[in-house]
């Protein structure tokens, strides 16, 4: 038996002649196989490239690129390039501004340019559109002319914002994503306490996702174990129950939760009629954080059950018997023998549920109220306002957080230990 491959190799050597070394021939043979394999996956590769890699690349680019102002104000871009940061705007600067306003009026770019500045200095959009409307009536000297129209044109914050926007490449959107803003002299500072939203929401999103993941794990583990040990017929029935949420529309499921959980809903009414709580003490189970957690756990549960089940099903019961015969109690057997063998499933389920939870927005939007909103709801908000760059920056932050956790997971557990199905 052992000699067979060697004989085959010798036969091949004889056939190909001795001049080509074995290594080269092996490489050639494998290259052919590799080429064929590559051609087979090429369609999928192109599909992924078109639908995934390119859009994500574009999104990342948008988060740091916005030419709404720089493309509409060529003269100012030149002036900002020629002067150092913090320079007081002089008559030359205002002349450039006036010529750019005329340029915007002709090309109808004032709205876009104003919007870009508006992100940094609220209220700037109307400033630009109004000024552009009357740009053809402006005469030198431009500084007093513009000041006469609106005193805001002298605002150093406005000029700092325009200087930043003079380059299409910007970190403004990330700055605002971490609740920061620019000062007039080019530095950065935190925004007022009242308008800090993102960092706290970011932390809350990850925290809530962690809570949802832990609850899912605690609920799914026994169910998956039952599924894996029950006779096939009954396991299938139970499996259908687990998968049922998959087969109903998300909206239907969410609506039924509203029916169940609202303050006049089924659960509260039951509790009241059973006398556990008074009529004035109805629990707030929905339109808050609790609602988000309950409904998301329900929706994401199958994503925890399935990987756990697929791992548990193939753990032979003989290991538990072996452990018992070696003197372990049933608890020790579970902790030291069974649990470690389910780790790949736990890892897969936790990762899956956590990542899905971090990115969810429909459910929090519907049942989360003000308190149960997650980071994705902010992304959705900016998208609905067509502030693509801000949405992209927030999405990139979310992606970075998930990737960081993924990396941590790989360091701590090892991604090769993952078993998704």
């Amino acid at each position: 038996m052992v000699d067979l491959p060697r004989i085959a190799v010798q036969a091949a050597t004889a056939a190909a002649g001795p001049e080509i070394p074995l290594k080269a021939r092996l490489a050639r043979a494998q290259a052919r196989a590799r080429r064929r394999a590559f051609l087979l996956v090429l369609p999928l590769l192109l599909f992924i490239l078109l639908t995934f890699v390119i859009p994500i690349g574009q999104m990342l680019q948008r988060s740091i690129y916005h030419d709404g102002f720089s493309g509409a104000a060529p003269a100012l871009v030149e002036w900002f390039a020629a002067t150092p940061a913090g320079t007081e705007p002089d008559e030359t600067a205002f002349a450039a501004l006036a010529s750019d306003l005329l340029f915007m009026k002709e090309r109808k770019l004032a709205g876009e340019a104003g919007t870009r500045i508006n992100y940094a200095v609220p209220g700037s959009r109307s400033l630009f559109t109004a000024a552009a409307r009357g740009a053809d009536r402006l005469t030198a000297p431009y500084r007093p002319a513009l000041m006469a129209e609106d005193g805001k044109w002298a605002d150093p914050l406005l000029w700092a914002a325009m200087r930043e926007a003079a380059s299409p490449w910007t970190t403004d959107f990330y700055l605002s994503g971490i609740d920061m803003q620019r000062t007039a002299n080019g530095g950065i500072e935190r925004v007022d306490e009242g308008s800090r939203v993102y960092l706290a929401l970011y932390a809350k999103t990850f925290l809530l996702s962690a809570v949802i993941t832990i609850i899912c794990l605690a609920l799914a583990f026994p169910v998956a174990h039952l599924l894996a040990t029950l006779p096939m017929a009954r396991a299938n029935l139970l499996m259908i129950l687990v998968l049922l949420p998959f087969w109903t529309s998300l909206l239907v499921r969410t609506t039924s939760w509203i029916v169940l959980l609202q303050s006049q809903g089924v659960i509260n009414s039951l509790l009241v009629s059973a006398g556990f709580i008074g009529d004035d003490g109805r629990l707030a189970l929905i339109y808050n954080r609790t609602g988000t957690i309950i409904v998301m756990v329900h929706i994401l549960l199958p994503f925890m059950v399935l990987p756990l089940y697929s791992v548990m099903r193939v753990i032979p019961p003989v290991y538990a018997r072996a452990a018992r015969s070696l003197g372990a109690t049933s608890w020790t057997t579970f902790r030291r023998i069974y649990l470690p063998q389910t780790l790949p499933g736990i890892g897969a389920g936790v990762l899956l549920v956590f990542i899905l939870a971090v990115g969810y927005y429909i459910t929090p939007a519907l049942v989360g109220g003000a308190d149960g909103q997650l980071f994705s709801n902010q992304i959705q908000f900016h998208m609905s306002k067509s502030n693509w760059s801000q949405a992209a920056a927030l999405a990139a932050m979310l992606l970075a957080g998930v990737l960081l956790l993924y990396w941590l997971y790989d360091r701590l557990v090892g991604i090769d230990k993952l078993k998704l199905g």
Partner: protein, 367 residues
Amino acid sequence: MQKAHDPGEYVAFRHVQKSYDGETLVVKDLNLSIGQGEFLTMLGPSGSGKTTSLMMLAGFESATSGEILLDGRPINQVPPHRRGIGMVFQNYALFPHMTVGENLAFPLEVRRIGKDEREARIRRALDMVQMGAFANRRPAQLSGGQQQRIALARALVFDPKLVLMDEPLGALDKQLREHMQFEIKHLHESLGITVVYVTHDQGEALTMSDRVAVFNDGRIQQLAPPEDLYERPQNSFVAQFIGENNKLPGVVEELNETRALVRLATGELIEATPVNVRAKGDRTLVSIRPERVEITAGPMSENAHLLDAEVREVIYMGDILRIRMRAAGSEDFVVKLRNSIDQRRLDPGERIRIGWHPQDARALDVI
């Protein structure tokens, strides 16, 4: 059945029955006592209840009725982890997420044995199975034979008095299996442990055991040392299950304590040793081992019975020649001859006289 504890009796099954479904008994009235230090093998065809009996002893199945005693104490209610019985499983059941060393440490850790002693014991156990260099490997990185040794070491590392093995060598190739048989036997002798071994390989049972319990249909058919089992099977099932044998159907014509005359279907009258025929006129199967049949007059005794036979086929098997012939009404009467230098060569179609000692012809029940 005696109830008092017999000091030579380490394990005892008393009227043990087992049913899984409440309808059929897979173990029917099992009575078995196993002495301290004994190597007892449960041998039998598939589904005969061997594993079930072993699992009841280990505590993984409960007896439906009857009593199991370990060292004089009933253990029906003792959970498996407090029985202190070592066990080797058919597919080794080494914990895949632990190294060999951790596998061996496991039974010691759950017994709260200190680190130093633990390490000493692990080293001793690994050396015992010549696997000292493998402590840091994972089970998946070992060959089947090596895994087998580790499973053995793990079952022995906490010094159990009783070790159960359920077809531990079933997954190994023939050569390795024979080698491991020898090693297990050697360990059994040097450690003085009691071993209950399950197999359906009769060769394994015969070479390793002090006594063999032949199971069929939930009952012990015969419990005897290997030699007795082979030479003096108590019934047709055992005769047929252990080794090869020629079965000649007939009717008992004359019967006393030591001698039975049996009229074969061909009308020939042969002499046999009565084993479990009860009366004149009973139908019987006369069993003769192929290697006890002689084809030359030399080694046959005075009163050996002689028959006419016709050679039909000669099969060369290396150490022996297996001759199939037509004799005593059977088309498949088998004779085994030693392939020695002076052995007489036979050719198909040849007519010869064959014979055997009446002691080797055993009149058994009809199945």
